[in-house]
């Protein structure tokens, strides 16, 4: 979770990701951020997020994104 929050902070230094933000609903992440995140997650976690998982539900919060990484890592 901490690594994920630090990646997000690099993308948006103005947002405090320790708070429970709704990343898509609040307009914090756009499609460009999502693709950059996918690339960073591939680098740091060794997890490739496929296109069909790029959904608003999976990127709704730091928690849902973390759950997605865990799920993909287990598979």
């Amino acid at each position: 979770m901490e690594t994920l929050a630090s990646i997000l902070s690099e993308l948006h230094p103005e947002v405090d990701f320790s708070l429970d933000h709704r990343l898509i609903e609040e307009g914090i992440l756009d499609s460009f951020d999502i693709v950059t995140l996918v690339s960073e997650i591939d680098d740091r976690f060794g997890v490739v997020i496929p296109a069909q998982e790029l959904t608003p539900e999976n990127f709704a919060s730091v928690r849902t994104l973390y759950n997605l990484i865990v799920k993909l890592k287990e598979n």
């Binding site: 230094p13 103005e14 756009d30 499609s31 460009f32 999502i34 693709v35 950059t36 996918v38 690339s39 960073e40 591939d42 490739v48 997020i49 496929p50 296109a51 069909q52 790029l54």
Partner: protein, 501 residues
């Protein structure tokens, strides 16, 4: 059969009466029969192409569904891949070939022969329902939606008549299930639908078609400098009123039948940056491109490999490479979807260029705004909106010039030959002082309605509680359309700009 014709009004009312009067479960069949008649009214080519896309999409979905239940998991995916890829390649090829046949070269080559019918315009709605059906096939392949076994439901998803003229582009998950149950007559729904159709016809007939006269005149090569600035401004008004008017009529017609189509415009001229603008303008095409082109390209294996290699040399730029690569492909596809002529490719690339430059300048913006706190001031938001409006007007004007060289010549003249005296051309454009007055008032009404909707929500909902005012406004709007609509000699009712794409 255009939305703004008497023929359409009669067709719509007759279908609506039969739809709600019919007992039992026949509503879906009536709606489908009506939709196919609507397509047939455009010619047999339109109905035949719609049926081909629908039948092949249904068959591909059916086979993929059978594979999913018999094989399951990765085996089903492997077995379904050829069906998904085959359907996509076949339908995209057909769409591109139809578009190519509309070029002057193809028209000359095929003129007088057996294949000349291919050059007489695109089949109705082909650019829209091809993308819509493709999203269904791809969603079934990815397991996002269940394959539809009921052919009537899928046929209504691809062929529901309000969306055939110029979209919006719906997804099966949004629309398919709305054709499942019987709908009883609800006065409020039908009334809201008709109000929206009337509002759409006001935008189209009073504003867009009147403005089209000035836009056509301003395309003449003599109009450069300040006159070109007027052209970009007038075209912005024309295409906004034309496209949103058509979408209002489509969404209103659907609502009268109890069906909710997705919104395609979310007050785009209030956007403060280009990314926001494209989330608000033709939102269903943007959403489609994001999901089925931008994301798949940006996370594809070749792009990831390229990005990793680039990061070793240029760490910062390498990180952004997948985003920029996918943006380039997405805008190329968006440009080609509008038309396979060079100006649409250039239009797409100009949008791509502005997006990439905005991204690259983001750190600079952040530094600037941390030093000067202008963003917190009220006027700065207005400045950003005007800046975006003017920039998008310049790029959008590329639509008007199939000869790209001519577009750049006019664009250049803005900087080399601008003079306020160029505005004197206003009295040579085929419009009278009264026409300009009507246009100004029309634009003011559109802007006021947008502002009220943003600040206070649905106007129709507020008026519902005030029946006398509602009736008076409705009657006033109807009279305005009747008396001030543009019905000149040679007027071809129902020609929406986005109908040609």
């Amino acid at each position: 059969m255009g939305f703004t014709t008497v023929k359409f009004a009669l067709f719509f009312l007759a279908l609506l009466i039969v739809y709600y009067r019919l007992p039992g479960k026949g509503q879906r069949a009536v709606l489908l029969a009506g939709s196919w008649c609507f397509a047939l009214a455009d010619g047999w080519r339109s109905l035949l192409m719609l049926l081909t896309t629908t039948v092949t999409a249904w068959a591909a979905g059916y086979v993929m569904g059978e594979n999913q239940s018999c094989l399951g998991g990765k085996k089903a995916r492997a077995a379904n891949r050829p069906w998904m890829a085959g359907w996509t390649i076949l339908n995209l090829t057909v769409l591109v070939l139809w578009k190519l046949c509309q070029s002057e070269t193809a028209s000359r080559a095929l003129a007088g022969g057996d294949m000349a019918f291919l050059t007489r315009g695109l089949p109705l709605g082909i650019s829209f329902y091809t993308l819509q059906a493709m999203s269904y096939v791809l969603d079934v392949y990815q397991g996002k939606v269940e394959p539809e076994k009921n052919f009537l439901k899928l046929a209504l998803f691809t062929g529901f008549f309000p969306q055939l003229v110029q979209g919006p582009i719906s997804r099966y998950g949004q629309l398919g299930n709305q054709f499942g149950e019987r709908r009883d007559y609800e006065k409020k729904q039908v009334s809201f639908g008709m109000q929206r159709m009337l509002w759409g016809s006001f935008k189209k007939l009073v504003i867009a078609d009147r403005m089209a006269v000035a836009v056509t005149a301003l395309k003449d090569p003599q109009y450069t400098g300040g006159a070109f600035f007027l052209l970009t401004l007038f075209y912005a008004v024309q295409i906004y009123a034309d496209f949103t008017g058509g979408i209002d009529m489509a969404l209103g017609a659907a609502q009268a039948f109890g069906v909710t189509l997705p919104e395609n415009f979310i007050h785009p001229f209030f956007s403060k940056n280009i990314a926001e603008y494209w989330r608000r303008w033709h939102a269903t095409l943007g959403g489609w491109m994001k999901e089925y082109v931008f994301y798949p390209v940006s996370v594809s294996a070749p792009v990831r490999r390229l990005s990793k290699a680039a990061r070793k040399k240029w760490p910062g730029f390498g990180k952004r490479l997948p985003v920029y690569g996918a943006t380039l492909v997405t805008w190329l596809a968006t440009g080609l979807w509008h038309g396979v002529t060079p100006n649409f490719v250039v239009w797409g690339m100009l949008n791509c260029l502005v997006i990439v430059i905005s991204q690259e300048l983001t750190p600079l913006y952040r530094k600037f705004h941390s030093r000067f706190r202008w963003k917190e001031k009220g006027w700065y938001g207005g400045f950003e909106m005007v800046r975006m409006f003017l920039l998008m007007n310049l790029i959008r004007a590329c639509d008007l010039f199939p000869n790209v060289g001519e577009y750049f010549r006019r664009l250049g003249s803005l900087f080399t030959g601008f003079s306020l005296s160029d505005f004197a051309c206003l009295d040579q454009l085929g419009l009278t002082a009264l026409d300009y007055g009507i246009l100004l008032a029309g634009v003011a009404v559109m802007a006021a309605v947008s502002l009220v909707q943003v600040k206070q929500g649905s106007i129709r909902e507020k008026l519902w509680r005030r029946p006398v005012l509602r009736l008076a406004l409705g009657f006033g709007l109807f009279l305005t359309v009747l008396l001030m609509g543009w019905y000149g000699v040679g007027y071809e009712a129902g020609d929406f700009i986005y109908n040609q794409f």
